[in-house]
Subunit: 138 residues, 2 copies
């Protein structure tokens, strides 16, 4: 179990080296691929980090030319963040890479095993969530 987790973390490290970007920025690119234009606060929620952390990540990404900031016409406080063309390219490349990896893993399983594995992960996730909730109540 813990080995499976460790392996997923390794994949992040590998990605990070391969694309020469910090892991946090990679996650952030994937978030944009899913959600598109967002505010800083939304990014913080999406990445599940403090607003200040999101702010730092995004400003680093802006330095790299991956995202750009636009003022919200309806609210002078908020900054709308979106991927630049360069950011979109990166996001597409990384998304591709992840898809390929997932495909490679699944292709190493017989079709009936695939179904079983996916179902198991679902079950496991629910069980873990349930335990987690119980823990939080104590």
């Amino acid at each position: 179990m813990s080995e499976v987790v460790h392996c997923c973390q390794d994949r992040m490290v590998y990605e990070s080296r391969r694309f020469n970007l910090p892991q946090a920025e990679i996650k952030c690119l994937m978030l944009f691929a899913e959600i598109g234009q967002q505010t800083v606060t939304q990014v913080a929620q999406g990445l599940d980090v403090a607003k200040s952390r999101a702010s730092n990540i995004l400003s680093d990404m802006a330095t790299r030319g991956l995202v750009s900031f636009d003022p919200d016409p309806d609210d002078g406080r908020v900054k709308l963040v979106s991927l630049t063309d360069r950011g979109k390219e990166y996001a597409a490349e990384i998304g591709d890479f992840i898809t390929r990896i997932h495909g490679a893993v699944l292709s190493r399983l017989e079709p009936p095993e695939r179904v079983m594995v996916i179902k198991s992960l679902e079950l496991l996730k629910n069980a873990m969530d349930s335990v987690k909730q119980q823990l939080e109540e104590m």
Copy 2:
């Protein structure tokens, strides 16, 4: 999938808060519970970190009174590290906690599901290892 991984990381964070110890020291305590007296280099290998990192973790743990260093009578360079009584207590407590959590997760699955989940994790691990190896060769 990534949610399962995230949940396991959350467990580490939770443990860390609960026992008021950095995650690295918790992992280290669990390593000692498994292996007993070790050298600094062995700890580094066991935790899969650089020797320097292990050295730092262990000296922090020594400050907390969790481990003690003894010279190796056969080799003046090596330091044999072992848990103090305090360290053993902590290790036992944490080990208990982990066992309880795992038990709680498994108890939320029907017995046949349990077998399936465990088998799936095994399959998944092998598939991931295989992909990883292929990746490293490129």
